[in-house]
């Protein structure tokens, strides 16, 4: 088990600039063995947390992307039917029991993410991404798995977890999750980073950005987020924009107001927002950036 300070340091080394509370959440995950539910706007870096966590624990990241209609055969396991059939044809005339034992053996089992996660020797990080997109039934099934960490396969028997994975769930809030699932998890709300943190993120992720430019970009983005927009730019958009500015060899935002306005397309992803942030608005925002 790692202490909070170690976790905070390891997160930093993994290139994730965390807010102070995230390290506590990760320490609690270990101590209480509860999954961590991350909520927040799209683009605030929820998925990145899981990736950073995997590198903190120096372990594998297993990802399950949820979607409407996701079922057990895509999430948990499935038999390799084609192979089973070939095997039956090949052993035609052999003892039926023997054939059956063979075709329902390990070799014919296809592992899907959830099964894979509980069968590793070292506990991996299991990222269940956008759980709100999955159906209610799948959520109930997941709840059961997350409390027992065992899977029963009728033809095969019960598989118990060899190591309890570190489970991270993310949700964009397109649907209200069940209270049972929420209670089972630790909860962390991921907010847009503040100016300082965003500037540090830009500096670690984008090459060729100096401290003052990173700070200017972060301030500008903060100003844009405060405008009434349909789609508020996330951290990924900020990084795109920073990379674009570096590519256009902008060293100081005040030196190139035209370029700033023209490259805002990296941040504003709907036509409505593009029209709202006019040249005047972008100049006004730029004026506030010290």
């Amino acid at each position: 088990m790692k202490t909070r300070d170690e976790i905070a340091r390891a997160l930093g080394e993994a290139g994730y600039i965390a807010d102070g509370e995230l390290a506590i959440a990760i320490a609690l995950m270990q101590q209480l063995r509860r999954p961590l539910l991350l909520e927040g706007e799209a683009g605030v870096g929820k998925t990145e947390v899981a990736k950073a966590l995997a590198s903190v624990h120096a372990t594998e990241l297993i990802r399950l992307q949820c979607y409407e209609g996701l079922d057990q055969s895509a999430a948990l396991y499935e038999w390799n039917y084609q192979r089973q059939l070939l095997s039956i044809q090949a052993h035609r005339g052999a003892d039926a029991d023997a054939v059956e034992d063979q075709i329902f053996s390990e070799k014919y089992l296809l592992e899907r993410p959830l099964l894979a996660a509980i069968r590793r020797d070292t506990p991996p990080v299991l990222l269940i991404d956008e759980i709100d997109r999955a159906d209610d039934e799948f959520e109930a099934f997941l709840l059961e798995l997350l409390s027992d960490f065992q899977v029963s396969i009728p033809e095969f028997g019960t598989i118990k977890a060899t190591a309890i994975p570190h489970v991270v769930l993310t949700s964009n809030g397109t649907r209200e999750l069940s209270d049972a699932l929420r209670r089972r998890c630790l909860y962390h709300y991921v907010d847009y980073p503040d100016v300082d943190r965003e500037a540090r993120i830009i500096m670690t992720r984008v090459d060729g950005v100096n401290a003052s430019l990173a700070l200017q970009i972060a301030r500008m983005v903060e100003g844009i987020r405060k405008e009434e927009l349909r789609k508020v730019p996330g951290v990924a958009e900020t990084l795109d924009w920073a990379a674009a500015l570096v590519g256009l060899e902008v060293k100081d935002l005040h030196g190139a107001p035209e370029t700033v306005h023209e490259t805002l397309m990296c941040l504003l992803k709907t036509q409505e927002d593009r029209l709202r942030v006019t040249r005047e608005v972008s100049l006004r925002l730029l004026g506030k950036v010290a």
Binding site: G20, E21, E176
Partner: protein, 403 residues
């Protein structure tokens, strides 16, 4: 719960831990009172945390307990205040506790009742507005069981919303509207499930199911297309002429939005506001608080045509699909261009499956749709129905179920 490195007297330690546990239990009670869903196992984990060094610094304990005991954004935001008030004796910012539906309903911008209505209080219950039958809905809504939970407000079902006077009654009506919305969703879903039928062959599952026959496909597995859930898009008129009804409808929409898998809500008066996000706040009181800010500017005229134009231009492509029902709640008093309203209604009608226009005024005795706006809009409306009582809202359900 073993405290590591406890050198002092065991008795003392026990005494301290007993006190701490008692205080923790009181804190959990406070949280439950504030609407947090804190279970037994969370309590145990919290106690375990306090025994393992998290109690050394208040900031640390606050953050740890926050992760453990909150479950959604609204709780996440309120937790620090409650924690500080309880453990550090600081005063909670009043904003975080004085939210409640009854209060929101009485807040100035969402005022659902002007004072002159108060005198009608006495005869309100006795008087019953006519409910024009809606596609035979009148017969459908017999039997109290169908109201599912609304029985507590039985006498409210037939009372015009604008005649509800005292806050308690309003609150009851709001609750009934929320429950009604929930019940409607449950039943609509049930019908959907019963209707499922497959028509395409699922090859993979067929092979799987026929392994026992050596792979000869004897029993076929069909695949059904997952029925697209009915999507509801609500456009609520929040102008001055509607102010008596806005509160109840907001609550109804909040219930519908929470329960319908796919629903979007918009408010309009002189301009259109997309309010789905605010409505998705779990706590109805807080949702209404957020909305009352958005609804500001309400009370002036209504430019339904222009608002619909904005809707068609910017939102329709995203929120409308083939199984979408657009529900417009408005009295149809258009202060803008009636011709524009007609054009936009036609454009909207081409896009969506059904347009339902709910008009609270329609329940009034002697009301005829003579306002310019409503006249221009009516040709494009599939269902024009009253919505001034809970019963008239219930009557809508069979119609929605058929979509």
């Amino acid at each position: 719960m073993s405290c590591c490195g406890a050198s002092p007297d065991i008795e003392d330690v026990n005494e301290v831990s007993r006190l701490v546990t008692g205080k923790l239990a009181a804190f959990l009670r406070t949280l439950r009172d504030s609407g947090f869903a804190v279970g037994l196992s969370e309590g145990q984990d919290a106690a375990a945390l306090m025994a393992t060094g998290y109690a050394e610094r208040p900031g640390l304990l606050r953050s740890a307990l926050k992760h453990l005991l909150t479950a959604r954004k609204s709780e996440w935001d309120r937790f620090d205040g409650i924690f500080d008030a309880f453990w550090l004796g600081k005063r909670v910012r009043s904003r975080s506790i004085t939210t409640g539906a009854a209060k929101a309903a009485n807040s100035p911008s969402l005022k659902s009742l002007p004072n002159q209505q108060a005198e009608a209080r006495g005869e309100a219950e006795a008087m019953m507005d006519q409910v024009p039958s809606v596609d035979g809905a009148e017969t459908e809504r017999s039997g109290e069981g169908r109201m599912e939970g609304a029985s507590r407000a039985d006498n409210l079902a037939e009372v015009d919303f604008r005649k509800l006077a005292d806050p308690e009654q309003i609150e009851l009506a709001h609750e009934a509207a929320a429950r009604l919305a929930r019940a409607m969703r449950t039943r609509l879903t049930r019908r959907d499930l019963a209707r499922r039928r497959g028509y395409r062959l699922d090859l993979r599952r067929t092979i799987h199911g026929n392994i026992s026959h050596g792979g000869v496909p004897i029993s076929l597995v069909k695949r059904q297309r997952k029925p697209k859930p009915l999507r509801l898009v609500v456009l609520l008129d929040a102008s001055g002429s509607m102010s008596m009804y806005t509160g109840v409808f907001l609550r109804f929409i909040h219930g519908v939005l929470d329960e319908f898998r796919e629903a979007e809500a918009f408010l309009f008066h002189t301009r259109l506001a997309h309010v789905s996000d605010a409505m998705k706040e779990k706590d109805a009181g807080r949702a209404l608080d957020r909305l009352s800010i958005m609804a500001q500017g309400a009370g002036g005229g209504t430019r339904i045509g222009e608002c619909l134009q904005t809707f068609n231009r910017w939102h329709a492509a995203r929120v409308i699909h083939s199984r979408t029902c657009v529900m417009i709640v408005s009295d149809g008093y258009e202060t803008g261009d009636a011709a524009l309203l007609g054009r936009e209604m036609a454009a909207l009608g081409r896009r969506c499956r059904r347009i339902v226009w709910l008009n609270p005024m329609m329940g009034w005795r002697g009301y005829a749709p003579e306002a310019r706006g409503i006249k221009a809009a009516l040709p494009h409306v599939d269902l024009y129905a009253p919505a001034h009582t809970l019963a008239s809202l219930t009557a809508l359900e069979p119609y929605l179920a058929r979509l």
